[in-house]
Symmetry: C2
Subunit: 471 residues, 2 copies
């Protein structure tokens, strides 16, 4: 099911429609074009991005329509009736090249490219950016949490603080990045995610006492009972009452699965709770922690040897705090038979013109060493150079190479089969394992090398000269 069932064609910025009408009225409706999606900076002061959103994007492309109501709306907003009539018959029938969903990608490389008529390429821009920027942001955040959590499990608890219905995409992206499941039932339903959840403070409050509340819950869920122990006093009543109920459950042949800590000093409380549980012979009871967690807090808890078995991560995961957005852009690189460039006073805002290929180079141990971007027309790629300091080059002829951006859609037809989020997560996990650790540390990570071919540099420089001459 597509993210937006109806009016998908309206999931765009006004200016895309204005430009499309302009192209239509200028007789350019069939002009071929190509756009690249890329980003200039990895979020969270990191070095990499876990690419996500491809499936949702492709399903939206397959469902991209202007139905009668959308057309009426556009007419009412003053769009040209002939153009609106053209839109009513428009379907996305372009080509898409893309990195696999779950791939680890880096600044400045064209992660995804779209080819088609300039009108269809333009109209889908805002939707494409919205989906890829957001889902990649959250998958990347999740992969950082996973890095901190190591062999411990973490679960997305973010629905209540997520940015509206974006929560549904976010929970999927969290799983791609490494969450084992989510609290979000709608995301679980739509994407086949594992879901989990036990009780809130309101459950505890709504009974006469904490002990009664625990007993009632244990009766209702004898085999998957996790008790929230911090409603009144974690160590004073919560853990002792949980131990009492666990012992009663044992007598009935059941086992309490876990306790959850949701406030206070999680390092201190988890150690004390673990000791109390162990002293009562209840070593099997797991400790789950939540409350304002992120990759840094989890790292700190692990450094303190806090005996926490699973983390529930909410707001900071699901909103990608502290980076609310990935800065991905979608730039015209080719139209009407010509490579295109936007030049800028800021050289780092320059783009790579033309149709290109993206390769990854790995060392003999399989570790990722660098990525390289070349022109489609090039046969070999042995030297890659820094995109802005073209005197800095590397010989990568001895490295193993693989092409990481492949065609996934041809004339609107999907060429790949979609994987479920856990399969994508497994792929992302394998890939990230091959990224050397110095690129994954949280503080000042080593920048991963992305180079471009000498031919691409020459192409870019000659286009710059051409444009400057015309100015």
């Amino acid at each position: 099911m597509a993210l937006i069932d109806r009016q998908s064609g309206l999931f765009t910025d006004h200016y895309e429609l204005t430009m499309a009408q302009g192209y239509y009225l200028s007789g350019m409706k069939d002009t071929p074009a190509r756009f690249d999606y890329f980003f200039r900076k990895a979020p969270f002061k990191g070095s990499y991005v876990v690419f996500a959103g491809l499936q949702n994007l492709m399903e939206m492309l397959g469902n991209f329509i202007y139905d009668e109501e959308a057309c009426e709306f556009l007419n009412s907003r003053g769009f040209n009736p002939e153009f609106v009539n053209f839109l009513s018959r428009l379907r996305f029938s372009g080509d898409v090249w893309s990195a696999a969903e779950g791939e680890i990608v880096f600044p400045y490389e064209p992660v995804l490219s779209v080819g088609g008529t300039i009108i269809e390429c333009q109209l889908i821009e805002s939707m494409l950016l919205n989906i890829l920027n957001f889902e990649s942001l959250i998958a990347t955040k999740a992969s950082r949490v996973k890095h901190a959590a190591g062999d411990k499990e973490f679960i997305d608890f973010g629905l209540r603080r997520a940015q509206g219905t974006g929560a549904i995409q976010a929970s999927r992206a969290a799983v791609i990045g490494g969450a084992s499941g989510t609290s979000n039932m709608l995301a679980a339903y739509q994407y086949g995610l594992e879901s989990t959840g036990t009780q809130a403070h309101s459950w505890i409050q709504s009974f006469g006492s904490e002990l009664t509340a625990f007993r009632e819950f244990a009766n209702a869920f004898p085999d998957r009972c996790v008790l929230l122990v911090d409603t009144y006093n974690t160590l004073g009543t919560g853990v002792p009452n949980a131990i009492k109920v666990a012992q009663e459950m044992e007598e009935r042949g059941h086992r309490l699965k876990g306790i959850r800590l949701d406030s206070g000093d999680l390092a201190y409380l988890s150690k004390q709770a673990r000791k109390m549980l162990d002293d009562a012979g209840l070593e099997y009871i797991r400790i789950i922690a939540s409350n304002q967690l992120d990759e840094y807090v989890i790292r700190s808890l692990k450094e303190q040897d806090a005996p926490i078995d699973a983390f529930g991560v909410g707001t900071n995961l699901i909103t990608g705090r502290d980076d609310a957005a990935l800065d991905g852009v979608y730039k015209l690189v080719f139209s009407n038979g010509k490579d295109r460039l936007k030049i800028s006073d800021n050289i780092e805002k320059m783009i790579l013109p033309g149709k290109k290929r993206v390769f990854r180079f790995s060392d003999r141990n399989g570790n990722f060493y660098a990525d390289g971007v070349s022109l489609n027309s090039e046969n070999e790629l042995d030297i890659i150079c820094h995109p802005f300091h073209s005197e800095k080059c590397s010989d990568i002829s001895n490295f193993k190479r693989e092409e990481i951006v492949m065609q996934v859609m041809r004339k609107g037809e999907t060429l790949i089969s979609f994987k479920n989020p856990y399969e994508i997560a497994a792929f992302a996990g394998e890939r990230i394992k091959r990224l050397p650790i110095e690129h994954k540390r949280f503080e000042f990570p080593h920048i991963y090398k992305v180079g471009i071919s000498r031919k691409l540099i020459e192409r870019r420089d000659s286009l710059i000269r051409e444009i400057r001459k015309d100015m």
Copy 2:
């Protein structure tokens, strides 16, 4: 149209369903309960929140169902079949009391309350928090941008960096907070928002030269032409070419509406561009600026007397940067005939028990002075006290009072008529005008007084003693 057409009942956390099943199996399915929605901290280091999301919430409550597919899914996830069958017949038939959408609200006051069976109140928690937290966050951010922009217009340009489909709600909330329109066509369609947009760099790039691109656009849109002047060199070619095209348009009896600056130093460039336009006798051409704007940048531009007529605000507005989420919570305050409390080691995390009323007190000039919360059973409210330092009290008997939280839904039936977002924005604007300026400044705003009645303090303290005794 509701935010989520189908499976709205699944837009919830797993634990809400677990608890609901627990209540069902414990014979508590008809237990009456009441929950309060409130937040503890205003976002953006501010003092207030523009309350938004009520209409979307109420439409979702009206549409809250578990259809056959949802029930099948819940059965497949191990929920009790009898309970799932109960859900298939469940409709939300509770009561809702709420501040008006667009009202200015403050920490610790119950902005919205829900009454009904404990099951229905619990199941809607995650959805309610998701909608109110997010829409209020963005409306609040927009009101700050509006405060900075003053009499200048600003427009939401955020779709491409918004958090997925949450963009649609966010654009509506941005208008409630003060945006004059949006680039987001789907939000414009769904909520009747003004939409606007002209061209991107790709339009300029796709023609042989900037001048040709400008001319083609002016031909296609003679009466609403805004030209993007920074693709190659803003002052060197962009503005001169725009002037040339504006003069050609004048000869044909049209007027260029504006130019847009999207990079570089906006203060410097807008001043230079203004001078160039004025020197050419084109005083009527507006200057629109975009690129990483927020309330602080806009304030700085205005301090520098940058001659900018309208601001396009994107990422920072639509994601609520730097606060990704409002920390609103939904807490049980009454169930089964008893007022309820969650006590905590942290006194500021304590809640206000029972059914309550919320009043606003204004001085003789109509300026908001304080809010007060009392028990439903109280007849008069002349003294309000600090919620955590109950020795600090104020006599508010001489202030004008109004009740700001009113019933909006009875037994599932909506009691109010919905206003369009511009009407809500007008209301929000009037209310925020009555909030003294010291509460609106960006740096260390004065905290707005929210007090509680002495009877409410007594009620809370006696409940604390009761709970402590039972522990």
